[in-house]
Amino acid sequence: MTIFLTFAQQQSWLIVALPVAAFLFIGFVIIIAGRGQELAKRLAPWVLIVCLAAALALALGALAGGLARGAGGEVSHAPEWFQLAPAAGEHGAAAPGAALRFVPTERIADWLPLPASMGESFARTLKIGTLLDPLSAVMLVVVLLVSLLVQIYSLSYIKRDEHPRFYLYMALFTTAMLGLVIASSLLQLFIFWELVGVCSYLLIGFWYPKPEAAKAAIKAFVVTRFGDLGLLFAVIFLWMGYGDLTFSHLAAQIGPAMAAPAALPVSLTVVAILLFIGACGKSAQFPLHIWLPDAMEGPTSVSALIHAATMVAAGIYLVARMFFLFEAAPMALIVVATVGAFTALFAASIGLAQTDMKKVMAYSTVSQLGYMMMGLGLAAPAAAFFHLTTHAFFKALLFLTAGAVIHAAHTQNIWEMGGLFKKMKVTAITCLIGGLALAGIFPLAGFFSKDKLLESALAAAMGLGPETISAGLGGLILLMALATVLMTAFYTARMWTLVFLGEPRSDGAKHAHEAPRSMQLSLLVLAALTLVAGFLLVPRLTALIAPAHHAALAPWMIWTLTGGASLLAVVGILWGYAAYRRAPATEPLAKLGWAYTGLVKLWWVDAFFTWLAHRVVLVLGRRARTFDKGVVDGLFVDGTAWLTGRLGVVMRRVSAGPLPGQLQYAALVIFLLAALVILGMSLTGLLPLLVKTAQIGGMR
């Protein structure tokens, strides 16, 4: 057992290598057998599932190994071809109140050797490797667990004909996501960060003959890419300043008390904000959230894995990973907290009025990610990470139930569903569990993690948060967070009521039937996780990543907050249930007037970006084309050619014309040449020289 734990820890790259192997194998089978062949269809899912199961075992082993070493204090050595860098001390520090300790393991290899520039004492080599610390170890398990369950679910959700391609992409995605999580340097994280973006692009566009899918795929890629620019700049600036992008090196060099190096061209605050812009793109924070709802064009299992549980959490993961930078640049925390809280409220409000079941969940995801970002901004990374973990479980669960419902009812519009509770009891109940967790009802996972986040907001409101966040701003954030609790509960209840209660409102809903076994299995496992993740082990593991930053609040305050938030959630649920119990013919929210218009129009953010894309960027492209053809090419190049041609015509006329014309031309040229020579000589100061030469000639 110990051998396995040590092995899992030392060879953690295998966790990434296993899905790579699956990817290559599936790709190979497709190439030799053709993707229409029975062999590829049969093999593809199982290859991936087996590899993921093995990787999950390894990840659990690595997690347990780290904890065991934390308990035993045993240190082992890495093989020679990897140099073992000194472990970053602060990551392994025991969180107060937790008996658990985790000893990180780090392996680093040179990826792109760059010697030192002139006058520098350190090489600027770019490194890659693996880093196992509480953050990455827990995240690995979460990613693999959800991924494995989604693959099992997809066995019957995705049509058999599409299996080879689907599992090929999924293998690539899992590889990239695991690579991102286990990355030991910011550069490597960036590499896999982009790679998960591509996988997301491929999977959103999985049903590429559908124009909306192809469009949504591009939108997702381009919008996140916009954010990635921020991350790219941050990476470049950090590289300029510190030369080495491994987390351990950066963490050792960046701290609140440490002066930024002279080679860093901008302040750490700017770097932190740039980093945050990258996180905004990937984690769909306002105003770069617009791609995530559109991404729901992809298969639902993809939405569950990528656009709810794992990839969209990468932004949160990034900020948590680089949290030492944000601590050193606390001004940036204001931005993080404000954007996070605003996104939570903003997206929740849009979620209220959505009619597409997946879109409701998509906006809910944006909103919950906003929560996590808020937690990070309030210097509570452990709480944010806790919520990330529980959210991964219950949101994946919700999406998978949505997939089951859509599979059965052949519609995504919640107004065309209804009465499904009787027909699909397992789905309905698991969906209810997920929904209650989302709303934050005791004792489900979401309750605990959301409570921790609200605690940090309360602390900020009392001026106990990060010193840059004033009590006023903290109070505003707390208000936004509490409003979000109410809205979340309302739209969750609205969705569940409309989908599962009442009478079927379409043919599809009338003939719906329960999902196949493999889908149910995934639902049940995730529901079980949602039930227990709030209090069993997960809070202690996630607390390992960082001690709580705010000063302890008095117990009565915490209890009041918990009670108040729960009350809000219950009110929201009852309100939503009451309003939609009878599936009214008109949307009750329409009474809100202009606000309802705003909700339906997504607060015009999408419209703005559509305008930007179609009326500005594409038009600029067309303009550039005409400019190039007309001005650069037409005026300059063809113009020169035309001029030369005209000159030739003129010359032909002269040189073939009557004698006086030719002579006049010759005289003109001689005159011009002489003028040019004299002008040139006087400009270059050679004229006296000429005179002198003439004089010398004269003396001879």
Partner: protein, 102 residues
């Protein structure tokens, strides 16, 4: 006596006048006279150079004699050509005479 400047100026005027006649006159005979003028301007230059720079050398005289000879030959050949042109085209107007197709 004349100064060198005066002589060169006169020679310059002669040269320009000859060149102007050459390139502007439409009558071939007039153009030929322009050439003669230019040649004589050159002759004047030679003589002036001999007088003021190298009075001891004879190069200039040789050159002047050569030019006079060439001018005479040129006038003879030129007039013969003009005569032939007149026979062929019926005019000595240079603007009217075009053999090349441009």
């Amino acid at each position: 006596m004349f100064s060198i400047t005066g002589l060169l100026t006169i020679s310059g005027i002669l040269f320009v006048a000859g060149a102007a006649a050459l390139i502007t006159r439409r009558n071939a005979v007039a153009a030929l006279m322009g050439v003669e003028l230019m040649l004589n301007a050159a002759n004047l230059n030679f003589v002036a150079g001999w007088r003021y720079f190298w009075p001891e050398r004879l190069d200039a005289h040789v050159a002047v004699l050569l030019v006079i000879t060439v001018a005479a030959a040129e006038a003879a050949v030129g007039l013969a050509i003009i005569l032939n042109l007149y026979r062929k085209f019926g005019t000595v107007d240079l603007e009217q005479i075009r053999l090349m197709r441009g």
